[in-house]
Symmetry: none
Subunit: 205 residues, 4 copies
Amino acid sequence: MGSTARLGSGRRTPKQKRSRQTVQAILDAVVRLLKREGAGAVTTNRIAEVAGVSIGSLYQYFPDKQAIFSALHERHIQEIDQSMQTALVDHASSALPDLLRAIVDAMIDAHARDPELHALLSAQTPPHAEWTRHFAVRLHGVFRLAIAARARELKTRRNPDKLAFVAAHMVESLSHGAMFRRPPGLSLAGARAETVRAILAYLRA
Amino acid sequence: MGSTARLGSGRRTPKQKRSRQTVQAILDAVVRLLKREGAGAVTTNRIAEVAGVSIGSLYQYFPDKQAIFSALHERHIQEIDQSMQTALVDHASSALPDLLRAIVDAMIDAHARDPELHALLSAQTPPHAEWTRHFAVRLHGVFRLAIAARARELKTRRNPDKLAFVAAHMVESLSHGAMFRRPPGLSLAGARAETVRAILAYLRA
Amino acid sequence: MGSTARLGSGRRTPKQKRSRQTVQAILDAVVRLLKREGAGAVTTNRIAEVAGVSIGSLYQYFPDKQAIFSALHERHIQEIDQSMQTALVDHASSALPDLLRAIVDAMIDAHARDPELHALLSAQTPPHAEWTRHFAVRLHGVFRLAIAARARELKTRRNPDKLAFVAAHMVESLSHGAMFRRPPGLSLAGARAETVRAILAYLRA
Amino acid sequence: MGSTARLGSGRRTPKQKRSRQTVQAILDAVVRLLKREGAGAVTTNRIAEVAGVSIGSLYQYFPDKQAIFSALHERHIQEIDQSMQTALVDHASSALPDLLRAIVDAMIDAHARDPELHALLSAQTPPHAEWTRHFAVRLHGVFRLAIAARARELKTRRNPDKLAFVAAHMVESLSHGAMFRRPPGLSLAGARAETVRAILAYLRA
DNA sequence: CATGAATGAGTGTTCATTCAT
DNA sequence: AATGAATGAACACTCATTCAT
């Protein structure tokens, strides 16, 4: 991990850095293509071209096309996951509404940052692929933690899994909805607030 | 010869009935293929084969491959929409919890009836296609109606659009989640009940 | 030929008239399609549609697609041939320049009447098909006759076949050229006159 | 390995030479197919097969089927054009009859070299395509040059464009006719001579 | 005879993947 | 490692033709 960089020569590091850069370039190329020319234009040859690498090199780093999408998904999830983790830590000792607010914000921001990407990505991958499941589990975990830590505040003895299940789905669905299907007359800010209010209402019921 | 034109009632309809049967056969073939052999096996020639019609006939009824998926979506949505409408009417004078329960049941049942189909279908269509939007609008409408009719019971003066937005997303997301991402230890029945409880909690908050 | 129309009952005539009308309709449909939508649009089904007959009926009158083009060619040639014959007869006792002028006019007019048709037709049929040969022979014949009848005026004893060969090609090529490849600065009338002059020069040389 | 880059002269050219060879192979394959099995056998897959390349390679060099025919035409025209140019230069200071004879020979030889190809090719391309026009212009130009340079010999003040127009059409038409529609009793040599005589007669009239 | 739904062999074309250089 | 020309299985789609009604 960090240790490779510390070893004497530093000879292997540049190679690995190059690799990572190539992988990044390929992943970025997919995103650019997806946004600029639509899903139909995302062919391996085109990806390689846009990434500025040869098609041969592309296959050096990814065994097949699907692997590229998987990697992209993973990267995307990790980014969201990261901001979730941060929200959780930052508000470890805040009141529940504040924490919820932070989580919802993180989620919406993640969607807002790259809305087309998110949309097109889900169209490209089987909806029950590993990553979807994985993401659900992570989000579920975030809420389990958040809820467990505030069991007293909530005065509830209900199954925390059940609560987390509902809360996680609410945040995901409403974040997505706030971004893409907001009805006229409901601002993004309004949707944010309403999402928090809804989850709170549920948890406190 | 000349007499055929004189025979009783529906001499023109068989032509149309046959058409409808062919279209049905094609749509059913897609579903069968999707379930039995996965999305990769859904080629136009294979569809025609499984449907028991010639590829030429298939193209007599659908201008291109995408049109087949669109038709399938439309059929699927209409089925869900139907059961939603029914729930709404059947519980026109029930108490809110009963109505909500009926709506959630209709939604989950629709997902449960053909879970793979639903899943694979969404993978095939751009997520912001007309039908997705259309369905969201329909669901939203169902809730607006349900909530408006019970404004007094809810003792609320909040924007019904806002309430409907949140409620609709909760139903859709949690129905889907109940079907596909239920955590171990949460039964389908439990998820159903919890979904209703959550929506109620929100509406009454 | 003419006799069928003279026979008693007249029962068969309408049927034959209908047939001829259908055939005409089909032939006209090809021309219309060719002109309006280009060669690519000329499919048997489309022809039938434009002609206002069913595809089945079309195949009642023509064994296959190629036969339609053949019939069209034949009709086209007969029209040109007709006007050629007329020119020949009308100027049976005119001087050579006048006759030549009449033939050239007939030829150019034939091209001018339906230039696209003529062009597209040649693109559709193998260039050495029967009809092309046939047409060449007819034109050749016309000139043989015209030249033979004026051998004294021409004071020539050269092989009339040779003269006819050259004259026929000149008239065909220059008529076509006058229509389609006239250089800027050369009017159609000018091209007409020049064609006559050129043939005369050759015949008198 | 590394040494390959150091070897003598043309190490980059093989890439281009290979390309040219492939293109040549494809073009030749079309000609072979056209001659051996007729126009109906000329499918892209068959071309690739006969050319000994994969269908994928074929599409690397030609965007679509039509482009192959266009390239073939261009090649064919350039060959004829070449021999025309040569005739013009070789007889720059010859008398007009000799020059005419050379041009007619070049034209007839071009047709004689590959008569079926020429015939089938014209059947494949719209008769007013760019190349046809282009060729007419070239031929016209050749004659303008030839005539202009001999204005004194011809003692003519007539519009050289008019003269060239007629002469060019005579050469083209009579060369083609000499090849394909020669009447019995007229030898190829006879047709050649007669063509020259006819053009001379016209120019001197 | 007319109809037009049905047929299916065959077409042009794409694109993930390989491998000689 | 990198390259990119070459590959070819597979696909969506067309259209001349048939035949049951």
